[in-house]
């Protein structure tokens, strides 16, 4: 149950007919994945793999940080936590007795949120009283609920890696099971879509506050990333960190989460992938029986805000007791644009391994930084950034490293990649695909996410042909078009003197 910043773009590519690997039968994903769509619109991607009798699952919903706005930032992720709290049947002893208590808790919690929304003007006595009341009522409600039954049932049946991940684009629920436990998965997952009960909401909210402290407030890079994205984007909700702002997490209420669930957790807005040693025909029957119960509902609204063109460099600074870090990002097009394959090639040329241009020049030869890497993000459903991050090597400054990064990126124009460099990129991206297939979990994640983010899991395969077609001229054209100073945001951690410790 953690937030993700994983970027699916650069992870999976299929072998083409002219693939580099000697393979008696070329691995063709299309031959191995069975697509199965229920009348309610929910899509299932089923892939049989020989081997030990286990399988991995990934149910992905097209909902994440980009669907949020001020006031509910972090709600996608908080809801993900709540999806483990059970249903009218699971994790409950007496739902009838519990239900009115949940309503009473909400009432106190809404009062509390309204008081807290006054910020510094909030009455601390009233806040403390309401907090106490929410806690007392939740403890009272606990006598009618059971504890962690979803986890309990999966665990006692040999389930492994039960978890969920929320990103800017999707929210994914995963578990791996022995092959004979398919019905358990179908039972629990369809039930939590049909009858969710968001019990223990307010204590879980506290857990998420701790998660924010853990991942953002006590981590120098976490702090920088949050401010950096909020600077690079001024309008589009790509600008909010997935975990959300602290004040939003602390005041969001259960009725808001229920409304969110009703809007986004609908069959046509989700895809599930099952990968492993499975009988595909039996799978289809089980899926139809359990998930066929979910009613059809209309698709949620798209995000309408379009990020305006950037006109001038932006800079973001975080003061910290930590050593310097650097993060630079340029706005690029939509991940479904034709230039995406070119960015993928550029990313590989610049950053992959010890023969990449960044490592060779900045780390190995000039010894200005200990690492330099690139990635795209934070979203893949909407136009995003091409980013470079670096950790300067003492005594070199972020300015020196920043300058060196621009110089290396300039070589994309002055010294575009030759045949061998392009062939190396292709070899690596082809092999990545094969390696992705080694893992049931990785494959399930790729299938479900490609389907939800790009609308077609086959892109895992078809993008390879586009990468193979990228030329030196493409690299030069894209570098010239996008990597301009006026289109970039630069973020850095600046070390300040350690604050003196307050005595007690």
């Amino acid at each position: 149950m953690k937030t993700q910043r994983i970027l699916w773009l650069t992870t999976v590519v299929l072998m083409a007919a002219n693939g580099v690997a000697r393979c008696e039968e070329p691995v063709r994903l299309e031959d191995r994945v069975v697509e199965y769509t229920l009348p309610n619109g929910m899509k299932f991607l089923l892939m049989h793999r020989p081997g030990v009798p286990v399988f991995s699952t990934n149910i992905s919903f097209r909902v994440g940080g980009v669907d949020e706005k001020p006031g509910i930032t972090g709600l996608s992720h908080l809801f993900e936590h709540m999806a483990f709290k059970g249903t009218r049947v699971i994790s409950v002893k007496n739902y009838r007795a519990e239900r009115p208590l949940l309503k009473a808790i909400d009432k106190a919690a809404v009062d509390l949120s309204n008081e807290m929304a006054r910020g510094d003007l909030a009455d601390p006595k009233k806040v403390a009283e309401l907090q106490k009341r929410v806690k007392e009522l939740e403890d009272k409600a606990r006598q009618f609920s059971g504890k962690e039954e979803i986890g309990n049932l999966y665990m006692r049946n040999g389930g492994l890696d039960l978890n969920a991940y929320t990103g800017k684009d999707t929210t994914c629920y995963v578990v791996s099971l022995p092959s004979n436990r398919l019905d358990l998965w179908a039972w629990l997952e369809s039930d939590r879509l049909l009858n969710p009960v968001l019990r223990e909401f307010y204590s879980e909210r506290d857990v998420v506050c701790e998660e924010r402290r853990l991942g953002v407030e006590t981590q120098p890079m976490g702090k920088l990333y949050e401010v950096f994205m909020a600077t690079a984007f001024i309008a589009h909700p790509a600008r909010y960190e997935v975990i959300g702002w602290m004040s939003d997490i602390q005041t969001v209420t259960r009725p808001m989460a229920e409304a969110y669930n009703r809007t986004y957790y609908i069959p046509a807005n989700s895809a599930a992938a099952l990968v492993g040693n499975l009988d595909i025909e039996k799978c289809k029957k089980t899926i139809a029986r359990y998930f066929g119960r979910l009613p059809s509902r209309p698709l949620p609204p798209p995000v309408r805000t379009i990020e305006p063109e950037q006109r001038g460099e932006r800079r973001a600074v975080v003061e910290s007791d930590a050593k310097p870090w650097l993060l630079i990002g340029w706005h690029k097009g939509h991940p479904l644009d034709a230039d995406e394959a070119v960015f993928e090639v550029i990313d590989t040329i610049l950053s992959r391994g010890h023969t990449a241009r960044f490592y060779k020049t900045i780390v190995r030869d000039r010894k200005l930084a200990t690492s330099v890497g690139s990635f795209t993000g934070p979203t893949e459903r909407y136009p995003n950034l091409f980013c470079v991050s670096a950790m300067p090597l003492h005594p070199h400054t972020t300015r020196e490293v920043e300058q060196a990064i621009y110089e290396v990126m300039g070589t994309l124009v002055t010294d575009p990649p030759g045949d061998e460099e392009l062939q190396k990129v292709r070899n690596n991206l082809h092999a990545d695909f094969l390696r992705e297939l080694e893992s049931n979990r990785g494959m399930a994640a790729a299938l479900a996410n490609y389907q939800m983010i790009y609308g077609d899991w086959r892109l895992i395969q078809t993008r390879l042909a586009k990468i193979d077609a990228v030329t030196a001229q493409d690299v030069r054209r894209v570098a010239e078009k996008f990597f301009a100073a006026s289109n970039r945001t630069v973020g850095e951690i600046v070390q300040t003197a350690k604050p003196a410790e307050k005595g007690k």
């Binding site: 690997a21 000697r22 393979c23 020989p50 081997g51 030990v52 009798p53 286990v54 049947v89 606990r142 504890k147 962690e148 986890g151 049932l153 665990m155 006692r156 049946n157 040999g158 492994l160 039960l162 791996s176 022995p178 004979n180 358990l184 039972w187 307010y202 204590s203 909210r205 857990v207 998420v208 701790e210 402290r213 853990l214 006590t218 981590q219 120098p220 029986r289 119960r293 007791d321 930590a322 050593k323 023969t355 190995r364 010894k367 200990t370 950790m391 090597l393 003492h394 062939q423 690596n428 082809h430 092999a431 094969l434 390696r435 080694e438 893992s439 350690k498 604050p499 410790e501 005595g503």
Partner: protein, 472 residues
């Protein structure tokens, strides 16, 4: 009338829905499962003429091969004044070139093939990992043989490795998780112990190329290696190839310096490191058990009940009920000399005292609090039914065999493990909790800002403040 019609309609819908779902049981506990057919894949074991042990497991689903070579060495065997030597030997063995190629040439070739060879030496093991397309195996194996047998340890690559490690030393107090992990180990192992040795700017500065050459010469020999291959190859021809690239490498007796044994018990202490942040990073516990302890199956079930799983007492109380933390855990681990009882949690500064108290209490009561039938059955069946996953990929199977042989576990370890778990009783768990958990010897470390704690740490014992080094 209208209301009543609505109600009838609602009942009808429920009946129809109920009918359609008649094959779905009302609760998942009522589900029945067909038996699981599972045969553990067994790598074959071979020994080359020079003593190198090789495990092989063929799998032809994908045109890929992965391999691991475990080398009997570790930073345990470096000296205090050259802490970091083993690490550099492991890194520069690969980056500094080998045979007739420079490190950069090896990088170019491997990366063009989308292959990788990574070497490294950690506290008690050295190793090399290889991954490549099966068509390239012969060539990549030739490079690996050079790296293991004929490393050049080029000066410029040692210099680069030193600069990078020194930078990470300068940055080692930037993140509280790093501080807690490192400083708690030092406390529990006592800072002079080889087990908790960490490089400093001074020890790194002192290390010379000759030291690496010597360390490599001393430890890296075929009879001190256990290799394992998984993937798309033919065992017979791979064995031939291995004889070809490693067969003329003579065995040699290696002397391993004696490592002073650790104290039997820890002295309890309460330690604090200031960090200006809104959350406390807390870790506490004491030395644990040695490997191959016959009580380990009971310890594993105890760990799951106590704090190594989502359904554990620590997780449910600290996270689910009290909302005090995102991450909380507590378990007793085994290690060569020795494992740790280690509990950790991160909570807002204002609940630091509460989190420690609650966790100490749950851990203390592990030896006496009744264990429910549900807890026993849940955790035992989780281990039993989850056992399959330890062998999910061919590489996992091979790596597990390497690990067991490297650390001297009995040959039937995996065959008897599930039976041993099944045999664990509630009394066993209370017994091992009493035997290995010492509530009066807790070494506690808190990283955070004590000005914001709700109560002073002195409640747990006299607080000792640790000042970290500052780097420019």
């Amino acid at each position: 009338m209208r209301t009543s019609a609505k109600r009838t309609l609602a009942i009808l819908i429920i009946l129809i829905a109920g009918g359609a779902c008649s094959t779905i049981p009302s609760h998942p506990r009522k589900l029945q499962y067909p038996p699981l057919q599972f045969k553990r894949p067994r790598p074959t074991r071979h020994v080359l003429g020079n003593g190198m042990v090789v495990y092989l497991l063929e799998n032809h689903e994908l045109p890929l091969v992965s391999a691991r070579f475990a080398i009997r060495t570790g930073s345990l065997y470096e000296s205090d004044d050259k802490a970091g030597l083993a690490q550099f030997t492991g890194t520069v063995m690969r980056s500094g070139g080998a045979g007739d190629r420079t490190g950069d040439q090896i990088d170019e070739r491997l990366e063009f093939l989308s292959a990788s060879i990574e070497t490294g030496i950690s506290t008690q093991q050295g190793g090399a990992n290889l991954s490549c397309l099966s068509k390239d195996l012969d060539e990549v194996l030739g490079l690996l043989a050079d790296i293991l047998r004929r490393p050049r340890f080029a000066e410029d690559k040692l210099d680069l490795a030193k600069k990078r490690l020194m930078e990470s030393i300068r940055r080692q107090n930037d993140r509280p998780n790093q501080i807690v992990a490192r400083e708690w180990e030092k406390l529990v192992y006592e800072s002079s112990a080889a087990w908790a040795r960490t490089p400093t700017l001074e020890t790194v500065e002192r290390i010379r190329r000759d030291d690496l050459v010597q360390f490599h010469n001393h430890y890296v020999h075929p009879n001190c290696m256990i290799a394992g291959f998984a993937g798309d190859f033919k065992s017979e021809s791979l064995l031939k190839k291995l004889e070809q690239v490693f067969g003329d490498w003579p065995k040699r007796d290696v002397a391993f310096p004696a490592i002073p044994p650790l104290a039997e018990r820890n002295t309890p202490s309460v330690n604090y490191i200031f960090k200006d942040q809104p959350q406390s990073y807390i870790q506490f516990g004491h030395l644990g058990i040695r490997r191959n302890n016959p009580d380990y199956p009971a310890v594993e079930v105890m760990n799951r009940i106590l704090g190594s799983s989502w359904m554990s007492r620590l997780f449910v109380e600290v996270r689910t009920k009290r909302g005090l933390a995102y991450s909380v855990s507590g378990m007793l681990t085994e290690d060569t000399d020795r494992g740790r009882l280690r509990a950790s949690v991160q909570t807002k500064s204002q609940s630091t005292h509460e989190a420690i108290s609650v966790m100490l209490d749950i851990i203390r009561r592990m030896a006496t609090d009744p264990i429910s039938d549900d807890e026993m059955e849940l955790h035992k069946s989780a281990i039993r039914d989850g056992f399959t996953f330890q062998f999910e990929t061919p590489a996992q199977c091979v790596n597990e065999q390497i690990r067991l042989e490297y650390y001297g576990y009995p040959a039937d370890y995996l065959d008897t493990y599930v039976d041993k778990i099944n045999a664990v009783t509630k009394d066993d768990i209370h017994r091992v909790a009493k035997k290995y958990i010492y509530p009066d010897q807790m070494v506690i470390l808190v990283v955070g800002d004590k000005a914001r704690f709700e109560k002073p740490l002195d409640d747990f014992g006299k607080m000792n403040e640790i000042k970290l080094l500052k780097y420019e």
